[in-house]
């Protein structure tokens, strides 16, 4: 008989491969990207990375779409309670890291003044997310702690969108207007895809429309230099709510593309990572603040009313997932070259978080 719950791989596999998304060995690929990048073996030259660039917002949007679909999955008890708790712990973690990085960021070359705040907020948003995506069968129920972890990207993703929008306009109203327009555009594209897919039977045609919708959602965010994660999330929520064929097609096709896109994104993030003593120091601070934030957030989440969560929830929240790196890579592209140290900090922090999580692994349990 099939088990009702799905379990993470054994600890040695997690440690060796940092299999945090269940399908993508995050740690290995980040290190591989770094080794192959311009500062390593230079197989991934700046020219090659430029060629890959258009795929990055698409990869980030794909993650957002899948997170949106996951949130709207019908068989998800305690969804809102878990979202509340997940958001609470992620906001706490984000605040810890943002304040810490704001304090230390001026030590990085070229990061000062208002830019230091942006860098700190982006780092906070990246650190706050632990979410990974269900790997084998999304319909199978997972433990509450894992479901809480997988919901903690939603609020930070929208918060990150606000941060990135603020880069474009000096006044909050203007940036909010731009953000609202981007949200509407994501919904227009989602609506167009829904119209197409609701009336389409051949799987080839469905596949073309799903891929086109993904490219448009990611492409619009890229063109406007806004958060592809938030656009994807919004589109995923739309398709999840309308349901039917559109939801099934998008989920099937985006899930299929997720693996290569995430690998590409992680390789790129690794390749763009530069090392310096100040970056290493900031990465250590990032790692410590993130771990502290997650453990404190878990403690708080367990004490708020609602679904009963395990004692070692904090350990479940330590793995960094891929959303943080995705957001940081997306944000770095929007901010420009001066944000390169930020990406390096997030990548190193992710590698460190992964190792920490492998060592402080939660007990296996059935819920």
């Amino acid at each position: 008989m099939m088990p009702a719950t799905q379990w993470d791989p054994p600890w040695h596999a997690r440690l060796g491969l940092s299999w945090s998304t269940g399908t993508v060995p995050v740690l290995l690929i980040l290190i591989l990207g770094s080794a192959l990048g311009p500062h390593g073996l230079a197989v991934l030259t700046p020219e090659v990375l430029r060629v890959v660039d258009p795929a990055i917002p698409v990869a980030v949007a794909a993650l957002g779409i899948l997170a949106g679909l996951e949130f709207t999955r019908p068989a998800a008890p305690h969804r809102w309670v878990l979202l509340g708790k997940a958001s609470l712990q992620s906001l706490l973690t984000g605040a810890f890291v943002a304040l810490g990085v704001r304090f230390l960021a001026p030590r990085l070359p070229g990061v000062d003044g208002p830019e230091a705040w942006i860098v700190a907020l982006v780092a906070g948003v990246a650190a706050s997310m632990s979410a990974s995506l269900p790997s084998v069968d999304p319909d199978r129920l997972r433990p509450l702690a894992i479901r809480l972890r997988d919901l903690d990207a939603i609020v930070p993703a929208f918060g990150g969108a606000v941060v990135l929008a603020s880069l474009h306009a000096p006044f909050p109203l203007a940036s909010m207007t731009l953000l609202a327009q981007a949200a509407l555009l994501a919904l227009v594209i989602s609506g167009a895809a829904w119209l197409l897919l609701a009336d389409t039977t051949p799987s080839t045609e469905q596949r073309v429309f799903s891929v086109a919708a993904l490219l448009l959602v990611g492409g619009i965010a890229d063109y406007l230099s806004l958060s592809a994660l938030a656009s994807g999330l919004l589109a995923g929520l739309f398709w999840g709510v309308v349901g039917g064929v559109a939801r099934d097609c998008i989920e099937r096709d985006v899930s299929y593309l997720r693996h290569p896109l995430v690998v590409l994104m992680l390789l790129t993030a690794g390749a763009r990572t530069t090392l310096s003593p100040s970056i290493l120091a900031l990465a250590l601070a990032y790692l410590a603040l993130r771990a502290a934030g997650k453990l404190a957030g878990a403690w708080l989440a367990r004490r708020t009313p609602g679904a009963r969560l395990p004692d070692d929830l904090g350990s479940s929240l330590l793995p960094p997932g891929v959303f943080g790196v995705a957001f940081a890579l997306n944000a770095t592209a929007m901010i420009g070259p001066s944000a390169a140290p930020l990406l390096a900090v997030v990548v190193l922090g992710t590698i460190g978080s992964q190792l920490t999580a492998a060592m402080l692994r939660p007990r296996e349990r059935r819920e």
Partner: protein, 919 residues
């Protein structure tokens, strides 16, 4: 209409985005947007054009022209430039596909003739254009002042690029129209060979031009070395990549489409950086895979056809972007003149070549229509010339782009016209089909008023095949068993069906009762059925039954041979009753194309040897071209059984069996249900009233309702099910009066002892359970319904149930399990499924039980009854996705398309899992 509305929304979105400002972030901004919009819009526009009977390719290109920088400017120049990387991959992909089309073994002797035709045509066309260009040089807008060697070099480049063709366009038009025949094959081979030769000549011409204009230094040996590197290096690299790719396909074979795109990117990038012909390398890689790794070539082709489509769509739209109508207008007369000259010389060259190569005039007269198109390769060559010779190169490029504008718009239309004139579009139309089964799809009988009415079979397979026949037309040969069947047939024993819209002939075979009984009840159901099902019923093999079986199979074969009008007509034989039809048919029609689907399990070899005529059955099945089983397990068992036969060779990798001088491909294609029909039934307003009727009929007042729907057969595990229910009521007495289990059990084959005894056993078991666990005045523990229900009533019953039990002791698939899942669009209900039913291989989210373990079975029932709603929903949703994805029409078309593909190539890829090739 919805598609147009969606396109309008996408256009609005793109214009809105552009109104918000130019991209500010990375240099990539705009690429994803452009690709997404291009893909969506081009598909919708091409679909519109297809409805107007125009090629889809024209739609892609037209869309590109309309939204491109030179006309609509929805996609700006900078966004179009972003697509160059994709077009680079696409061009390499096209070259790879071109290589994959060249199967030297299949082309056989034709290959030499086509190569000769190609050489003559190219020679004449190139010479003619070269002479004309030399004479008209002062008027050509390229480099009027050039003279001597420089002029000769430029002319050489102009000639090579002007003559080049488009393998992609040719392949795309034949694929899209479904054309099949010697014309399409000749044209495709011609353009691939011609472009291969032209790629070599282009390298030579480039080298010559570099020397002539003094752009390169070095001695003769150095120049020859460079040429050898450009060509030889490309071929060597292509062979290496092709071999590695074949190994990847063979040993890993996952995410093939994504890997193929990565390989194309690699070929494109390495070719550029190492200065060799990447297109030649890609053709060489394709040739290696196609000719040295046949099975892998098919897997690759299937993946490319299934999923590289988006890349090609973007490529064709990008061609549309590059079509500069203004350039065409400026150089109008010269461009038109050059186009006309090219066409004239190609036709003249073909006329000479067709005669010299001995190609059939019926084919030769239409080849020219497939040689008009120019696209990616020509554009690529033009770009190389423009990039290297910046004074006159761009002018050659402008001229070629204008030429492509004409050829791209006209080429696909002309080729389609040529294929139609050559009679190859008719070949693409679905050929009539001959279906052979023991049971007929319509039975004629008299109703209460004495009128003869046709009653349709309700089984899922019969319904699917009927739908297929409505579309394909042809003849269905079956045993006429209805009481009024003889009264409605014509002199050739045929009647047009379906009654509501006659679309095909039902040919009835009249079988006398005694022979039929020995064939059907005897050999088929007392022999083969228990032989293939692992239950404790001893197979009975009698010589007289075997004789009847052979006789009736022979009679089916005679009837089929009378209905097969052409050797190409596919014959689709159903099930274990007709294992010997194929050899008898082949004795009459040696070239008949037959496929047989074996619906029940295939036993392991030791058990199969129980049959005294095992070798004859195997040989009979191996007379089919395609043999399909439900599960991988059955396919493997069959291959193992075949391996034990002398004079039979099994190729496990390609899943082919050689028996004598012929091959049989063996595949596993699990059957599905008519999902859409069941959806329509459960969505209809009549469902509620039918549910109410069934509640009244069965007296269903219990809180919990379970169901089992079976033909009364000893393989269905009904006594085991009843034992588990008995135990369930004992373990949880509070379910007495609160749970009713409805057992729909339709008696069948009652004249066979084993069936009669199982019917009696079930009846007495149910009475005992009701006596033991019945509550006075309460709902019955088990309700036993013995009449068949229509599919609408069954669907209503499925929706009433909290759980459904399928407890087969051994089963090929079991469609009740899939029907139950298909009917549960409310995403509720639990399926309790035997691990010994074929369906358990797919429906892993069911509560899986072993019917032989009564305790475990009862545990499973308790789990089903107590399952929380969210878990029920999650499991049902997962199962529905599987059932929806593999319906009965997909099953039928998988087998028939597999059979039809044997016309051209063995069906190696069907033995692989679909998931392995998906995108």
């Amino acid at each position: 209409m919805k598609h147009l509305a969606a396109l309008a929304l996408a256009v609005v979105a793109v214009l809105w985005v552009r109104s918000l400002g130019e991209p500010t972030g990375t240099g990539s901004a705009g690429a994803a947007l452009a690709i997404g919009f291009t893909l969506l819009g081009a598909w919708v526009v091409a679909d519109l054009l297809r409805r107007l009977r125009l090629p889809r390719l024209t739609g892609y290109i037209l869309f590109g022209v309309l939204i491109g920088p030179s006309v609509g400017d929805v996609i700006t120049e900078s966004m179009a430039i972003q697509l160059q990387f994709i077009t680079g991959i696409a061009t390499t992909l096209i070259a790879l596909i071109a290589g994959l089309t060249l199967n030297l073994e299949r082309l056989g002797q034709q290959f030499a003739a086509i190569a000769r035709l190609t050489a003559i045509t190219l020679g004449i066309a190139m010479t003619g254009i070269g002479v004309a260009a030399w004479i008209a040089w002062p008027w050509l807008p390229i480099a009027p002042d050039a003279s001597g060697l420089t002029r000769l070099a430029i002319v050489a480049l102009l000639v090579v690029t002007t003559v080049s063709f488009s393998p992609t366009m040719t392949a795309a038009v034949t694929t899209e129209t479904g054309a099949r025949g010697r014309l399409s094959e000749t044209v495709l081979t011609f353009v691939v060979l011609a472009d291969l030769a032209l790629l070599v000549l282009f390298s030579l011409a480039m080298l010559f031009a570099r020397v002539a204009v003094g752009a390169t230094a070095g001695d003769g040996a150095g120049l020859i070395g460079r040429f050898v590197w450009e060509i030889g290096g490309a071929v060597a690299f292509g062979v290496l990549v092709g071999s590695l790719f074949a190994l990847y396909l063979r040993h890993i074979g996952r995410e093939v489409t994504l890997v193929v795109i990565a390989v194309c990117a690699l070929l494109s990038q390495v070719g550029t950086s190492q200065q060799f012909e990447s297109l030649l390398a890609a053709v060489a890689a394709g040739l290696v895979i196609e000719n040295l790794a046949i099975a892998q070539g098919d897997a690759l082709k299937a993946a490319v056809q299934a999923a590289a489509l988006p890349v090609l769509v973007i490529f064709f739209v990008a061609v549309g972007f590059s079509l500069r109508l203004d350039v065409l207008a400026q150089g109008g007369v010269i461009v038109l003149g050059l186009s006309a000259l090219r066409l004239l010389l190609i036709r003249f060259g073909l006329a000479v070549g067709v005669r010299s190569a001995g190609i059939d005039r019926a084919v030769g007269d239409h080849i020219w229509t497939g040689l008009i198109s120019q696209a990616g390769i020509t554009l690529g060559l033009a770009a190389v010339v423009a990039a290297e010779f910046d004074d006159w190169g761009p002018r050659i490029q402008a001229l070629l782009v204008a030429l492509i504008a004409i050829h791209e718009l006209v080429g696909p239309l002309l080729f389609r016209y040529g294929l139609a004139r050559g009679g190859e579009l008719a070949a693409a139309a679905p050929r009539p089909l001959v279906v052979v089964s023991n049971r007929e799809p319509y039975v004629h009988q008299e109703d209460d008023q004495g009128r003869i009415v046709a009653k349709a079979a309700t089984g899922g397979v019969a319904v699917a095949l009927d739908a297929l026949m409505r579309e394909r037309h042809g003849v269905w040969v079956a045993h006429g068993a209805g009481p009024a069947d003889r009264q409605v047939v014509d002199a050739s024993d045929k009647v047009r069906v379906p009654p509501d819209g006659p679309a095909y002939d039902l040919r009835r075979l009249w079988l006398e009762e005694s022979t039929f009984s020995a064939y059907y009840n005897g050999f088929a159901n007392e022999g083969l059925w228990p032989l293939c099902h692992l239950v404790d019923v001893r197979p009975q093999f009698r010589t007289e039954d075997w004789a009847a079986y052979r006789d009736i199979n022979e009679r089916f074969a005679v009837a089929v041979s009378q209905e097969v009008r052409s050797p190409n007509t596919p014959v689709f034989i159903q099930d274990y009753h007709l294992a010997l039809v194929a050899p008898a048919l082949r004795a009459r029609l040696p070239h008949a194309r037959t496929a047989l689907f074996w619906h029940i399990p295939w036993p392991y070899p030791d058990r199969f040897r129980i049959c005294p005529w095992a070798s004859e059955i195997l040989a009979g099945l191996l007379a089919n071209d395609l043999l399909a089983f439900q599960l991988e397990r059955d396919r493997r068992n069959f291959l193992l059984a075949a391996e034990e036969e002398p004079n039979v060779e099994v190729e496990h990798e390609s899943s082919r069996v050689r028996c004598g001088d012929r091959y049989t491909t063996v595949i596993a294609v699990p059957i599905g249900v008519d999902y859409d029909r069941i959806q329509a039934i459960v969505a209809a307003p009549a469902l509620a009233s039918e549910q109410a009727r069934l509640r009244d009929l069965f007296g269903l007042s219990a809180r919990v309702i379970g169901i089992g729907v079976d033909r009364l057969d000893y393989t269905k595990g009904i006594p085991e099910r009843l034992a588990a229910l008995d135990l369930l009521f004992s373990r949880r007495p509070q379910l007495r009066g609160a749970l009713t289990f409805v057992q729909v059990g339709v008696p069948s084959r009652s004249e066979i002892d084993s069936y009669a005894s199982i019917e009696a056993e079930i009846g007495s078991h149910i009475s005992a359970i009701n006596a033991r666990h019945g509550v006075p005045g309460g709902a019955p523990a088990v309700y036993y319904h013995k009449s068949p229900l229509t599919i609408a009533s069954l669907a209503a019953l499925y929706r009433l149930a909290d759980f459904c039990i399928v407890s087969s002791l051994h089963d090929g698939m079991n469609l009740v399990a899939k029907e139950f899942v298909a009917a549960r669009d409310d995403e509720d209900g639990v399926l309790v499924l035997s691990s010994l039913a074929g369906a358990a291989q797919e429906l892993r989210e069911a509560v899986i039980i072993n019917p032989y373990d009564v305790d475990g079975f009862a545990d499973g029932l308790l789990q089903a009854i107590d399952m929380p709603p969210d878990q029920r929903r999650a499991r049902m949703r997962a199962m529905r996705r599987i059932v929806a994805g593999r319906n009965v029409f997909g099953w039928a078309s998988d087998i028939l398309e597999g059979l039809e593909s044997l016309w051209t190539k063995p069906l190696h890829y069907s033995v692989r899992r679909w998931e392995d090739m998906s995108v």
